[in-house]
């Protein structure tokens, strides 16, 4: 990571958290800086009637003037009455797809004519991604997956190789969706750590903060000025607006024990009547990390690819063992999901598996809301006197 001395030597030494101002028409320069450094920039793009994360080449690809409405089981793109580039919240995609790819070949085995098998790890050019527009809950989700894939006894080489190369441009939320509850999970809406740069969008530009040496190095190449107090104040109030808009709440008080002591609660039956076991909640969740590994031979049987694909505890065969399927009804699968996310994740990784992004609420076709499920279980276990 290059860490040059600032060219502008008469500028005062600036502490890392200092705020700068990037004029609106200089955002393109930021994208170009990243591209010059060899990054493929991934950012928000309107596609398939939603704001998705895809490769972008310029600011023109960004969702200028778009936002969305979200509620349980429903998402709709909506026009804004301004030209905001980041005036939306989180959508159907998450950054995990770029760090933990949905499908990847992890090994190959080939049998030569003398009958000898050779196993190889496929060579790959690791993509060098810059993420543009990462929200606070998403930074937290990346940290959760870092814990899972990098900080346990087994390091995942696929994740590790990609993660090392990532440059993160975070964007502070200035509005919240009805499904957001990051405040309950202590993850947002303000970006505090885990970014290289962080932007707060204002009408005429961005208040920008560096969060790493790499971030400061990019700042030095940009046409930024120290943010005026009025600009910093405007950014602060925009960020507080997001916080004020958050309505959803998850009571995390004693949550682990509450759930693990409620394994026979009637709510699991009630939710099983609604749940389609379709896997959507786990797929959109930015922290879910499960996968399945399949050996795929060709017709000759001499060449085998070992493929890893996203999998989910809602897939009936996810719990198939030698004796059969362990979680053989929707009730036990929903219970697995909720108790893993909110309870046993603490035992496994010392934190919650939920960052409060609300994706599982929006993208659940029947609109099952985990905050409501938890509240129902709590009301059964802790009846109001």
């Amino acid at each position: 990571m290059p860490n040059q001395v600032p060219e502008c030597t008469d500028a005062p030494a600036v502490p890392p958290a200092a705020e700068w101002f990037l004029p609106r028409d200089s955002l393109q320069a930021l994208i170009e800086c990243l591209q010059e450094d060899g990054y493929t920039v991934i950012g928000p793009v309107v596609d398939q009637e939603a704001i998705t994360y895809q490769v972008i080449s310029s600011v023109d690809d960004l969702p200028r003037g778009w936002t969305e409405e979200q509620s349980a089981g429903r998402y709709r793109l909506v026009r804004r009455d301004d030209e905001a580039l980041f005036g939306y919240t989180v959508g159907p995609h998450s950054w995990k797809a770029f760090l933990f790819p949905p499908q990847v070949t992890v090994a190959r085995a080939d049998r030569s004519s003398d009958g000898r098998w050779e196993m190889t790890t496929p060579e790959e050019t690791v993509p060098r991604h810059a993420f543009l527009g990462v929200r606070a809950c998403e930074l937290a989700a990346i940290a959760v997956q870092d814990r899972v894939f990098l900080e346990g006894p087994w390091v995942d080489p696929v994740y590790q190789a990609r993660r090392r190369e990532v440059f993160i441009v975070a964007v502070h939320c200035t509005q919240a969706a009805s499904t957001c509850f990051c405040t309950s999970m202590g993850t947002g809406p303000e970006c505090r750590t885990g970014f290289d740069l962080a932007l707060t969008e204002l009408e005429d530009g961005f208040v920008i903060q560096g969060g790493s040496d790499a971030g400061h190095e990019i700042l030095e190449r940009l046409d930024v000025a120290v943010a005026a107090p009025s600009q910093s104040a405007a950014a602060g109030s925009a960020r507080r607006q997001a916080e004020r808009q958050i309505r959803r709440h998850l009571d995390t008080n004693g949550l682990r024990d509450l759930l693990l002591n409620s394994l026979d609660d009637s709510q699991w039956d009630a939710v099983a009547g609604r749940c389609l076991s379709c896997t959507n909640c786990t797929m959109v969740c930015p922290t879910c990390f499960c996968s399945t590994v399949t050996d795929v031979p060709d017709l000759s049987g001499d060449h085998v690819k070992r493929e890893r694909s996203w999998d989910s505890c809602f897939n009936v065969d996810f719990s198939r063992m030698s004796g059969g399927v362990i979680r053989n009804d929707v009730r036990s699968r929903y219970r697995q999901w909720l108790t893993h996310k909110l309870a046993s994740w603490h035992d496994q990784f010392g934190q919650s598996g939920c960052v409060g992004c609300g994706r599982c609420i929006t993208w659940c076709p029947p609109g099952i809301d985990l905050t409501e499920e938890v509240a129902a279980i709590r009301s059964h276990q802790e009846p109001i006197p």
């Binding site: 596609d47 398939q48 998402y75 099983a272 009547g273 076991s277 031979p297 000759s300 029947p366």
Partner: protein, 280 residues
């Protein structure tokens, strides 16, 4: 690690394959024939003894593997499928007709005699059953490959596994998982397009949603499909009852979890359940 050639199940002796057709459009057999690149290799590894769509050779049983396309719609079919079962070690049904009764199972909801009178000048010459049913309703089936038509790569991989004595793995999750793996944005949630994906069996790679259409349910019900909940969701989303019925009345209409009648398509029933198809 080495393995000597004598371990090779193919070298020990080629298995014998037969392909049978019942009431169907032949599309699934064509799926096998359209594996042009793989067919020569397949023919080396398996003895294609009976496959009228491909060859005039009429080999006799017993067979190691029988692929069965089509549904059971005549008294003669009922007899013939039993004879296939008696002569085949492994029976694999292929396609929506064989696994669920096919589009022709729409007759199950109609007056069969009236159809005969309308269509045929001399209905007394026609000998058919009043219903179109899945092969598994008549004989034990070892593996069911769903889809209208089947996925030819899945068909090939099952044949490959059977040839080599490998465990056959048939995923049975919903189409939604495949949508998400390929990055498709849910058309149901983002656009309100009715989609059968949450209760439909994997196999197509989530084709239709990737082209901005709801899933038509070609691969039939996924494991433990909660059809009742999806119907309530569609009703709450404003889809009228007639359209809810029509959604399920296609290639897999007679699959137990998709077998809804007008009463069951109402949104007010089955408000709780175990997650098994409650409307079957």
């Amino acid at each position: 690690m080495t393995s000597s050639v004598s371990d090779d199940p193919v070298a020990v002796g080629r298995k014998k394959l037969a392909v049978f057709k019942f009431a169907s459009c032949d599309g699934c057999q064509l799926s096998l024939l359209s594996c042009e690149d793989e067919l020569p290799a397949l023919a080396e590894q398996i003895d294609i003894s009976f496959f009228l769509e491909a060859s005039s050779r009429i080999g006799t049983g017993p067979w190691d593997i029988a692929l069965v396309e089509g549904s059971i719609t005549t008294p003669e079919d009922e007899q013939r499928i039993r004879s296939v079962r008696r002569q085949a070690a492994t029976v694999v049904t292929i396609g929506a007709c064989a696994t669920a009764g096919g589009i022709q199972s729409l007759r199950n909801w109609a007056d069969h005699d009236e159809f005969l009178r309308c269509v045929y000048a001399r209905p007394e010459f026609i000998s058919t059953l009043a219903s179109s049913t899945a092969v598994a309703d008549h004989i034990p089936v070892d593996y069911e490959l769903r889809g209208c038509p089947v996925d030819r790569y899945q068909l090939l991989s099952v044949l490959r596994d059977l040839i080599r004595g490998r465990t056959v793995r048939l995923p049975r999750h919903s189409v939604c998982l495949d949508c998400k793996r390929r990055g498709t944005v849910c058309v149901e949630v983002a656009q309100g397009i009715p989609c059968l994906g949450p209760v439909t069996h994997t196999g197509c790679g989530a084709l239709c949603p990737a082209f901005n259409r709801g899933c038509y349910g070609c691969f039939g019900p996924s494991a433990q499909a909660n059809t009742g909940s999806l119907i309530r969701t569609l009703a709450e989303g404003g889809l009228p009852e007639a359209r809810r019925v029509a959604l399920f009345r296609s290639f897999n209409a007679a699959a137990p979890e998709f077998r809804i009648d007008e009463r069951a398509a109402r949104s007010d029933i089955g408000s709780s359940g175990t997650g098994r198809g409650e409307l079957s």
